[in-house]
């Protein structure tokens, strides 16, 4: 036990977080009252339920305390701590000086914070750009452009590294290198999820910081992402929801942010787009974001001037008719045939022309409009 005395309290918080069935609320209750060191002793002795966390240990406090004691006896606190230090990640609990002030102010701030990259990235204005994984191409382009423009203006982009909107926002922010990106993830920092974003993850960690409240090796579980959303809401000065389905997780980020008095902005979308149903509904309570100016106005900044010019050749004849039939949301060939009244051969040829010229992109059997060519190049 001699070496255990030398360990910082974060090591014990880490050990507590490694116990089974410990969520953010139980961890906070365990660590907050008498400190993690004493909480760990209680857990080892199997009397955790007698402390203040007991009320959170329903339905069977005694049973859970025994399970914790059993699990705790198998955990070597010192080894766990060394393993995290060796992995090159930073670990802090709420008593540490390095623990960010913005999270310390919040009563629901994570009891344990593990990061990869530089925690100094949290300094400065921060805007969260979040949205659905099942986004439209238009939504993705908007998120990417917004990430880029915010970063250009020196604003840190906070997001969740998920597929779709989240990833697009980070990719856009990374393209300028002006402000440092911040990512909050729902798994251990060595469990990269989604795998397809492994590269993006590394770039965010290199330029900015990737945060997690889970020990290394934690698998991503559904509720982790909801808990992750609350940290995004705490970190951001402004939350922008780009696209969200009727019952999307990003709406929950917006709710969490609103509860903390942060400004929530939503990007309006077509009433026919399923991916904009949640954001359109959110507009009743949130502000409107139609571009980077709307966000910068909230944080009291002015957008840098960007000159854009569309170099794409104007479509002619049937190509123009088909393009007019297309909207920002994905559209099938059949719908286009009905909208334009043109036969399949002409629609097919026009789609090829438009795709070559950069007016549309195609995914499988669907076609959708793209914005200007400059936005396309940043993807």
């Amino acid at each position: 036990m001699g070496s255990a005395e030398a360990l910082p309290s974060a090591a014990f918080t880490l050990a507590l977080a490694s116990l089974p069935d410990v969520g953010p609320a139980r961890l906070l209750a365990l660590a907050d009252v008498h400190g993690p060191r004493r909480a760990w002793d209680d857990v080892l002795a199997g009397r955790a339920h007698t402390g203040p966390v007991g009320s959170l240990m329903t339905p069977d406090p005694g049973g859970l305390a025994r399970r914790w004691a059993r699990a705790a006896s198998a955990i070597d606190v010192a080894a766990l701590w060394t393993r995290h230090l060796a992995a090159g990640v930073g670990v802090a609990d709420r008593s540490d000086d390095s623990y960010p002030a913005v999270l310390a102010e919040d009563p629901h701030g994570p009891a344990l914070l593990i990061w990869q990259g530089d925690l100094q990235a949290l300094n400065g204005p921060r805007v969260a750009v979040v949205g659905t994984r099942d986004c439209t191409n238009a939504g993705r382009e908007f998120a990417s452009a917004l990430g880029r423009d915010l970063s250009e203006a020196g604003v840190c982009v906070v997001s969740g590294l998920a597929l779709g909107i989240d990833g697009a926002a980070h990719a856009g922010a990374l393209s300028t290198g002006r402000a440092r990106p911040i990512a909050v993830v729902g798994s251990g920092l060595d469990v990269i999820y989604p795998r397809r974003h492994a590269d993006l993850w590394d770039r965010v960690a290199a330029d900015g910081v990737v945060l997690s409240e889970h020990p290394l090796g934690t698998e991503p579980v559904g509720w982790h992402f909801l808990a992750r959303n609350r940290i995004i809401a705490m970190l951001a000065d402004v939350v922008v929801v780009v696209e969200s389905h009727e019952r999307g997780g990003s709406l929950q980020t917006a709710t969490q942010a609103a509860q903390r008095g942060r400004v929530v902005l939503a990007v309006p979308g077509s009433v026919q787009s399923a991916a904009s149903r949640g954001t359109n509904a959110l507009l009743a309570d949130a502000g409107v974001c139609c571009g980077v100016e709307d966000v910068l106005a909230v944080v009291g900044m002015v957008a840098p001037q960007v000159v854009e010019r569309d170099r794409r050749p104007r479509p002619q004849g049937t190509d123009a008719v088909v393009l007019a039939g297309l909207e920002a949301e994905p559209c099938s060939t059949e719908t286009l045939m009905i909208r334009t009244g043109l036969p399949l051969a002409e629609v097919a040829m026009a789609l090829d022309h438009l795709e070559t010229a950069g007016w549309i992109v195609r995914r499988g059997a669907w076609a959708e409009r793209v914005g200007s060519s400059s936005e396309q190049s940043s993807l």
């Binding site: 994984r133 099942d134 099938s332 040829m349 789609l351 090829d352 499988g364």
Partner: protein, 509 residues
Amino acid sequence: MAPTLATVASATLLGVDGHPVTVEVHASGGIPAFTIVGQPDAACREARDRVRAAIQSSGLKWETCRYTVNLAPTGMRKAGAGLDLAIAVGILAATDQVSAGDIGRVGFVGELGLDGSVRKVPGVLSLVDALQTPSVVVPRACAVEAQLVARHEVRAVGGLAELVGCLRGEQPWPDLPAADEAPVLEPDGLDFDQVHGQPFARGALEVAAAGGHHVLMVGPPGAGKTMLAQRLPGVLPDLNGPDALDATRIHSAAGVRLPAGGLVRRPPFRAPHHSASMAALIGGGSARLQPGEISLAHAGVLFLDELAEFPTFVLDSLRQPLEEGVVRVARADAKVSLPARFLLVGAMNPCPCGMRSSPDSCRCTDHRLARYCRRVSGPLLDRFDLRIDVQRADPLDLLQSAAAESSAEIGARVSVARSVAASRGVRCNAELSPAALDRWAPLTREAAAVLEGALRGGKLSARGLHRVRRVARTVADLRGSDGAITESDASCALVLRSEPSFLVARMAS
């Protein structure tokens, strides 16, 4: 008694082919017995009881002696009850109730009932075809089918007593049921004019019918995939002579009811449920090696609804017949090859939740979606020349009273396109070899540019290129052009072979 021997010509069925069998009956004194040798299966061995009862109830005499029946050649397994009649006639000849001279030039096919009636058996067309005798006796119910071979004098009888009377010359042979020369085809009530809207799906199926291209329809529940597929045979041309005969042989061998006139003249439509076993789909079974669904769909349409629900190994077993047009089924003691050249129509939901009709409306988890994608293997997906998304029809189109184009109008264009393909030496464009493509489907410069763009963009593989060119050829044929493939033909073919929606991944950034 002195031993006597009688031989009678008959045939047995293996797969869809008939094989001649000589039934030898040896009657001698000794302990009374009745044995059948020469690899009879259970149904065939039970002929002993049926034959004895039939002879007794037909007012004929059952001599108490020792009968040995040999079915030659002995190396082949004999299945079913089709040899009953030949065995009975052999016994009657061996006991001098009919003369050997009367049966020497006649083949016999039929199953016996205990009351002496002669019942129909499957595969009469192939069985009669295998017989080399100048005349054949078949059950009355099979008379029309037996006459399709047109090489024999066909006699149709209803019972054993009647047959013996005719063989002895005591009564004339009964008249044959008249075969209708041009029977009226019963309309099945399925017509494309009942499909409102859906111009894309209708166009795609027209191309499929005209070029014989396999087609995969992906769409949400209720989009009308089954409705469209059921109407596809209606626009295919009538079967030509050899195809009709093959289809009839298969249907007869499988015991499927034949249309009036005996000959299968319309392309068959088969839609097995996804719980179908490998043997039911491909063909086989332990004794008779019956044709499966893919053979029953020969020269017609095989519709696999809910494609992703079929077991993966069953689907993958379709790959070889799809390439070769025949399926070779082998068992320990028999090998048969069954014709199986069909137009494959697959239908499936775009994802487990069924809502992936556009990329942003599906709410399936990554994991479920990935599992769903794996259910249909890449090589099988590759064999679909046409891969289309079917959407629910526009409600306005559904309510519209104006009738859509009918099957007859579409069928006329399909027939023309098929005859153009026939002039190139193939049944349909889907069978054009790469060499034939170079000869019959040259590309204009613009069309080549379109295909080159798709190849460069990674949307098209080298093998996919040939398939797209075949489809483009069909599109041009339907347009009435016999010349080079134009830009619009190539674009059209590419749109008709888009990546199935369930493979379109969520966007990574």
